[in-house]
């Protein structure tokens, strides 16, 4: 199930990957899946994503991990993604990243700002433990201010409780 959700999100992010605004995942509702095979990045399909780019991270590594309600420990299913992220960052030593911590809407604003900061730092600490230089990582919390998807149900909330790695 997580794989399916993840691939959908990854596709959506691919569409928006050329934009500079963080977290422009577009409308996740509806038939976003129809864009799955559509290359909107300029037609350079032969080359694929530029190595070390955000698009590369999204397509080949996975840019985000998810958290349980009001939790900030890295889940077992997130460890693979973060391990790949750490390897990827070792492969591209000039790449610096910002890790965004996000929450679902089932908490109050200020508490969620603190919780989002915890989540971003959980991701950072995991990467650092795998050997990534901490000076290459900054964190930012968006609390519940920037959900990835709209929706007032667990399916939406579970996608919004996330840590997202953004190439600077």
């Amino acid at each position: 199930m997580w794989g399916k959700l993840f691939s959908l999100t990854a596709v959506l992010l691919l569409v928006a990957a050329c934009e500079t605004t963080p977290e422009e995942t577009g409308d996740a509702g509806g038939d976003g899946g129809t864009t799955a095979t559509t290359d909107t990045t300029g037609g350079d399909t032969m080359a694929g994503p530029v190595p070390g780019s955000q698009e590369d991270l999204v397509v080949n590594v996975g840019d985000r991990v998810f958290f349980d309600f009001d939790m900030y420990d890295v889940r077992a299913d997130a460890q693979d993604t973060l391990t790949r992220q750490a390897e990827w960052m070792q492969k591209f030593p000039d790449v610096n990243v910002t890790i965004e911590g996000h929450c679902d809407e089932r908490g109050t604003r200020e508490y969620n700002l603190a919780l989002g900061d915890r989540r971003a730092n959980s991701v950072k600490n995991f990467l650092v433990a795998l050997g990534v230089d901490p000076n290459r990582i900054v964190t930012i919390s968006y609390g519940k201010e920037r959900p990835a998807v709209e929706g007032s149900n667990e399916a939406a909330w579970s996608q919004n409780r996330r840590g997202v790695t953004i190439v600077n």
Binding site: R106, T108, R109, N125, S141, E145, E150, S152
Partner: protein
Amino acid sequence: MNKIASLYLLALAVLVLPAQLARAELSIDITQGVVDPIPVAVTRLLGGGETEQVGRDVATVVAADLERSGLFRAIDTRAFIQQPEAIALQPSFGDWRQINSQLLVTGNVGIEADGRLQATFRLWDTFAESQMTGFTFRTVPSNWRRVAHKIADAIYKRVTGEDGYFDTRVVYVSETGAATRRVKRLAMMDQDGANHRFLTNGDDLVLTPRFSPTAQEITFMSYFNDTPRVYIHNIDTGQQELLGNFPGMTFAPRFSPDGNRVVMSLSVGGNSEIFVMDLRTRRIDQLTKDPAIDTSPSFAPDSSRIAFNSDRGGSPQLYVMSASGANPQRISFGDGRYSTPVWSPRGDLIAFTKQHKGLFYIGVMRPDGSGERLLTKSYLDEGPTWSPNGRVIMFFRETPTSKGNVSKLFSVDLTGYNERLVVTPLDGSDPAWSPSLP
């Protein structure tokens, strides 16, 4: 610009009373939910020429203020038997009793030689057939709405014994757009929604504005330069100042009651703690030291203690500590998750947001945690703020719809009655009520 400092309101002594003092005291006990609002007839303040319309407008604003409080019911002016211009020295009380008007407001308005607006009102008890109170206000004509609010405040105070809260403002966050890329702007308006204006342009995400005790400044959080920090916005100059030079995210700011300090959270490495900054000396003191989340600090009105939100016990709960950070005590012990404690200006209660079994509530409890009462509930009610007299709470409510969540401001009486939509041009959140304006 509507500068508060330039305002000059003069309350004259109570006008000459009729021979007998008011008997049969008409009063409302606002500690109870009011089921039967007191009927009041607000006649237009009589004025000639250019002030005729001002007199009508003032009466409309007064009636709307009183009615919105839930304690009064304004009688339709079309039901009036005695016309305002016929009320010379004293009303025909029988005419007003006949339309069940227990209270009657009369007055006049004019422009003085120096160009100032002069407005006089009288509040009558139609059963005792006596004047209950009366004042004259003088100010620049553009301040006529504030005159109306001052009149409503005087009437509210005379009838309830409590200070009014109509001559106040609200700062809040105006919202537009999809949740995934919501645009948020600071906005300010009079308590009744008039004189609405935006303070920021929406380029930066802004959150949680709160007034200083003089209502001249607003402390808030902004993501300016993608760096979430606490700022102070000066209402007169429009200038914004970054507050302090902290190594991490600062958020959840709130002024101390004397306005000389701002208490807020700082998060470093994922651990949030509460700090207080002296605005004069720039000295910073750390008040909490705990690996848990510590945020949403709110001073008691006597500055002796600070309520805050922490999950040090395993879930978000309310705590109270001394203003120096000593002796933190958990005060919330009911079922559910508690956050956003806000101390009442009267000091007797702490308002909060409670989350339990999929719903959110606005409630109040005493500072020792006793006497919890829930006032509202919905999918998401959050962020209480007090009227300066501690009788009304404003908050925001998010409602899921097929087109995404709708966020609106609401107010509710401390009794849990009189829940009302606070009308804003766009969606709204994070309201903060100003003190009574000087």
